[in-house]
C-alpha cells in the first residue's frame, strides 16, 4: 500500500517536476522568442525614427497649421478659414483645371511617345545606346535650369525656336507671352524633359517579353505592325501602368518648370495648383499655403489611388 502510495506520490512529484520543467522550458522559450522578436524589430527603429521625424511628424504638423493663421513665430486657430480663402482665390479655379490639363496631356504624351521611343531603342539600330543616353539625359537636368533655358529659346524674336521657324518662312507665336499658349509651351517642355524616364521603364518592360511570342507571331504570318500591336502593346501593360501613374502624379504636382518659365503668368493663365500654393507662401501667408498643400495632397490621393486600382484590376502573373 505504502509502495503504491509512494510510487504515486513520487510519480506525481516527478510528473509535477516534469510538468514544471516542461513549463519552465516553455516559458524560457517564449521569453526567448519574444526577445527574438524584439531583437528583429529593433532593427526597424532607426529607419522608422528617420521616417517619423522627416515625413510623419511634418505631415501631422501641416494638418495642424493649416487650421491656423501662422507667421512662423505665433499662431492663431482659425478653423476652416484658410480652406475657405483658398477656394475663393480667383486663380484657384483656373489653376485646378490647368493642373488637370497639365497632368493629362503631359502624362498622355509621355506614355505614347515613350513607347515608340522604347521600341526604337529595342530594335536593331546600331546607335541605340547613344540614343538611349540622349533621350534620358534631359531628365537629370534641374527643372529650374531647363525652364530658364527654354524661356530664352522661346523668346518671340530673339529665341532660337522662332528664329529657326522664320528661316522656314513661318512667323512663330509668342510661346510664353500669349496667355492661351503659355501653359501648352510649358507642357511641351515638360514632355521633352520627362519622356526619358518613360522610355527607360518601357525598355525594361519590352525586354521582359519572352521572344517566343514574337517568333510565334512570325510563324503565324505576322509583320512588324502585328508584332507591335498584338504582342508588345498588350504585354508592356505593367510598364505602361507604372508610367501612367508616375507621370500623372508628377504632372499634378508640377512646379519647377511652371515657376521658372512664366511664374504662373501671363496674368494667371498658366497657374497650376503648386504655383498658387507657392504664391501664398512668398506673400507670407504660411497657414494658407499649408492649407493649399493639404488640398493638393487630398487631390492627388483622390486621383492616384483609384487610378492605381483601375489600372491594376485583373492583374495576373505572366
Amino acid at each position: 500500500m505504502m509502495d503504491i502510495f509512494m510510487r504515486l506520490y513520487y510519480g506525481g512529484i516527478l510528473w509535477d517536476i516534469r510538468g514544471k520543467v516542461f513549463r519552465g522550458i516553455a516559458v524560457d522559450m517564449s521569453k526567448h522568442a519574444a526577445l527574438d522578436r524584439y531583437y528583429s524589430y529593433s532593427f526597424l527603429v532607426p529607419g522608422m525614427l528617420v521616417y517619423g521625424i522627416i515625413f510623419v511628424f511634418p505631415t501631422l504638423m501641416s494638418f495642424f497649421f493649416s487650421f491656423t493663421r501662422w507667421d512662423l513665430s505665433t499662431w492663431t486657430y482659425i478653423g476652416f478659414d484658410n480652406y475657405k480663402s483658398f477656394f475663393q482665390e480667383y486663380a484657384l479655379v483656373k489653376s485646378l483645371s490647368n493642373t488637370i490639363v497639365y497632368a493629362v496631356l503631359s502624362s498622355g504624351c509621355k506614355v505614347i511617345l515613350g513607347l515608340f521611343l522604347a521600341v526604337v531603342c529595342c530594335s536593331k539600330l546600331r546607335t541605340k545606346g547613344f540614343l538611349e543616353t540622349v533621350i534620358y539625359f534631359p531628365n537629370i537636368l534641374s527643372p529650374l535650369a531647363v525652364g530658364i533655358m527654354f524661356s530664352s529659346l522661346m523668346h518671340p524674336t530673339k529665341g532660337l525656336i522662332n528664329q529657326v521657324l522664320s528661316l522656314l518662312g513661318v512667323v512663330g507665336p509668342d510661346w510664353l507671352g500669349n496667355p492661351r499658349l503659355a501653359l501648352y509651351s510649358i507642357i511641351l517642355t515638360d514632355i521633352w524633359k520627362g519622356v526619358g524616364v518613360s522610355t527607360v521603364i518601357y525598355i525594361a518592360g519590352i525586354k521582359a517579353i519572352p521572344t517566343e511570342y514574337y517568333e510565334a507571331c512570325v510563324v503565324d504570318g505576322g509583320n512588324s505592325l502585328t508584332k507591335f500591336a498584338k504582342i508588345t502593346v498588350p504585354l508592356v501593360r505593367p510598364a505602361r501602368n507604372t508610367v501612367i501613374i508616375l507621370s500623372f502624379i508628377g504632372g499634378l504636382r508640377s512646379f519647377g518648370l511652371v515657376w521658372s518659365m512664366t511664374q504662373g503668368g501671363p496674368g494667371f493663365s498658366s497657374d497650376v495648383l503648386a504655383s498658387v500654393i507657392y504664391k501664398q507662401y512668398i506673400n507670407g501667408f504660411y497657414g494658407l499655403s499649408i492649407a493649399g498643400n493639404v488640398i493638393l495632397l487630398i487631390l492627388v490621393s483622390m486621383i492616384a489611388f483609384p487610378l492605381y486600382r483601375f489600372l491594376n484590376r485583373g492583374e495576373y502573373a505572366i
Binding site: S73, Y90, T157, G177, P179, Q263, S269
Partner: protein
C-alpha cells in the same frame, strides 16, 4: 595605411579651408548689410567705399533675390534670427510687416535724424519710434517720354487723360509705339494703376484710410476704378508694342532711348540706370505725371525710398549708427551724387538733385516745389493686393475688363487683410 593617412590629410585641409571661410565672414570689425538687387547702385557702393577709406568702417554687402521671393527670404531670416547688422528694405507697409519693434533698433532721438525729412520718417515709424534712414532719393511714378519724338510729331506734354490719348493716337498713326509695355518684368504692369494714385487721393482724400478699414474698394470708388479703366483703355486701343508680353525692363529702356517707343509709364529710379547705359541720350528723356481727367488735378505719385535699418542682432550698434550718420552727411550725399545721377532729392535737408544731367529731373522738380506730390497707396495703407502685378497683366492683356480687374484686386486685398488680421475685415 598610406591611403588612410592621405585621405585624412585631405579631409583636414578641406575642413580647415571651409573653416577659414566661415571665420572670415564672422569677422567682427565688418558691418554686414543685406539687401535686394535694386538697392545696389553706383551711388551706394561709392558711399560704402568712401566711408571705408575715410572712417575705416568696413562693410560687406549680401544680395538676396529681388521681388517678393527676396522679401520672403528676409522674413525667414528674421524668423530664424540670422539677420545681418544692417538691413536695407522698403519703407511703408512692407516695413511694418517685418514687425519692426522686435527686429530693429529705434533711431528716433539720434542727432543725425534731425535732418531727415518728416514725411519720410512717417513711413519708417511704428508707435512714434523711427527706425530707418533713406538710402537714395524718392522715386517718382509717372510717364517717361522721348522729347525728340514729341518735338518731331509736334506734341505737347498732356495735362489731361484725353490729351494723352490723342497724343497716343498721333504717335500710333506715325508708326511708332505710343506706350511701351514691359510686361515680361511683372512689377511694371502695375505702373499705370499705381501712378494714378495722386489723382485718386485728390478726388477722394479719405480713400487710403477707408481702404484700410474695409470701407472703400477699387470696384466701387469712381476715382479708383478710373485707374483700372485707364490701363484697360491703353490695351484696348492697341497703343502698346506688339510684343509687350515679352519686352523686359531693359528692353523697354532701349526702346525709349532709340525712339521706337515714345512713352513709358515708369518710376524715376530707372533714370540713373539709363544714365549709366546711355549717358549722352539723357537730355532727350523727359517725364510728366499721369494726368487725370481734370487739368487742375495734376501731380506725381511718389514712392518713398528704401531705408537702412539697424537690426537687433547687430554686434556693434554704435558703429552702425556712426555709419548711418556718415552716409547722410553732406559730404556723403555729394559722394553719392557724383557717382550716381540723382533722379530726385534725397529726403535730407540740404540735398539737391542732378538736374544738369537728367532733363527729366527739371520736369519733376517743378512739381515738388509746388507741392504737387503725394505718396503712393502702399505708404498710406498696410494692405496692397499681393497679386496686383498679375491682375494688372490680366487687365493689360484684355483677359478681364477694368471692373473685373478692380474686383479681383479687392478680393486679393481682402484675403491679405484677413491673413494680417486687420480690424474690420
Amino acid at each position: 595605411m598610406n591611403k588612410l593617412k592621405l585621405t585624412s590629410v585631405i579631409f583636414l585641409v578641406i575642413a580647415f579651408a571651409v573653416g577659414q571661410g566661415g571665420w572670415a565672414a564672422g569677422n567682427d570689425s565688418t558691418l554686414t548689410i543685406l539687401c535686394q538687387p535694386t538697392s545696389v547702385t553706383s551711388g551706394l557702393t561709392a558711399e560704402l567705399d568712401w566711408i571705408r577709406d575715410t572712417y575705416g568702417i568696413k562693410t560687406a554687402v549680401e544680395v538676396v533675390a529681388g521681388g517678393s521671393e527676396g522679401v520672403n527670404v528676409i522674413k525667414m531670416r528674421i524668423a530664424t534670427d540670422e539677420l545681418p547688422d544692417i538691413l536695407i528694405f522698403n519703407s511703408g507697409s512692407l516695413f511694418t510687416s517685418l514687425n519692426p519693434q522686435s527686429t530693429f533698433v529705434p533711431l528716433t532721438n539720434e542727432p543725425f535724424m534731425k535732418n531727415v525729412d518728416e514725411g519720410f520718417k512717417k513711413t519708417v515709424m511704428v508707435n512714434n519710434a523711427v527706425y530707418g534712414v533713406p538710402i537714395r532719393p524718392m522715386n517718382f511714378g509717372g510717364w517717361l517720354y522721348n522729347k525728340k519724338e514729341y518735338a518731331r510729331l509736334g506734341l505737347k506734354v498732356p495735362k489731361t487723360w484725353a490729351e494723352l490719348i490723342s497724343n497716343c493716337e498721333k504717335i500710333k498713326a506715325s508708326g511708332k509705339t505710343a506706350v511701351i509695355g514691359s510686361f515680361k518684368t511683372s512689377w511694371t504692369t502695375q505702373m499705370i494703376v499705381l501712378a494714378d494714385f495722386y489723382n485718386v487721393q485728390k478726388l477722394e482724400p479719405n480713400f487710403a484710410a477707408d481702404y484700410t478699414a474695409n470701407k472703400a474698394k477699387y470696384a466701387t470708388s469712381k476715382a479708383a476704378l478710373r485707374s483700372f479703366e485707364k490701363l484697360y483703355e491703353i490695351y484696348a486701343k492697341g497703343f502698346m508694342n506688339r510684343d509687350y508680353m515679352s519686352t523686359s525692363y531693359d528692353d523697354a529702356q532701349q526702346m525709349l532711348v532709340d525712339g521706337t517707343g515714345v512713352q513709358w509709364p515708369m518710376l524715376s529710379q530707372v533714370l540713373p540706370v539709363m544714365a549709366q547705359k546711355f549717358p549722352d541720350k539723357m537730355q532727350d528723356i523727359g517725364m510728366f505725371p499721369q494726368p487725370s481727367d481734370d487739368p487742375n488735378i495734376n501731380g506725381f505719385t511718389v514712392w518713398m525710398p528704401n531705408a537702412f535699418y539697424i537690426t537687433k542682432s547687430c554686434k556693434d550698434i554704435p558703429k552702425a549708427k556712426k555709419f548711418l550718420e556718415y552716409y547722410i552727411s553732406a559730404t556723403g550725399l555729394n559722394i553719392f551724387k557724383s557717382a550716381q545721377t540723382l533722379d530726385g532729392v534725397f529726403l535730407i535737408k540740404g540735398s539737391t538733385a542732378s538736374s544738369d544731367v537728367l532733363a527729366a529731373v527739371d520736369d519733376i522738380v517743378k512739381y515738388t516745389e509746388e507741392g504737387k506730390v503725394a505718396p503712393a497707396l502702399e505708404f498710406l495703407s498696410p494692405v496692397k493686393a499681393p497679386n496686383l502685378p498679375q491682375i494688372c497683366a490680366e487687365v493689360g492683356t484684355g483677359a478681364v475688363n477694368a471692373l473685373g480687374g478692380a474686383k479681383m484686386a479687392d478680393d486679393d486685398t481682402t484675403k491679405q487683410a484677413k491673413q494680417l488680421n486687420l480690424p474690420g475685415w
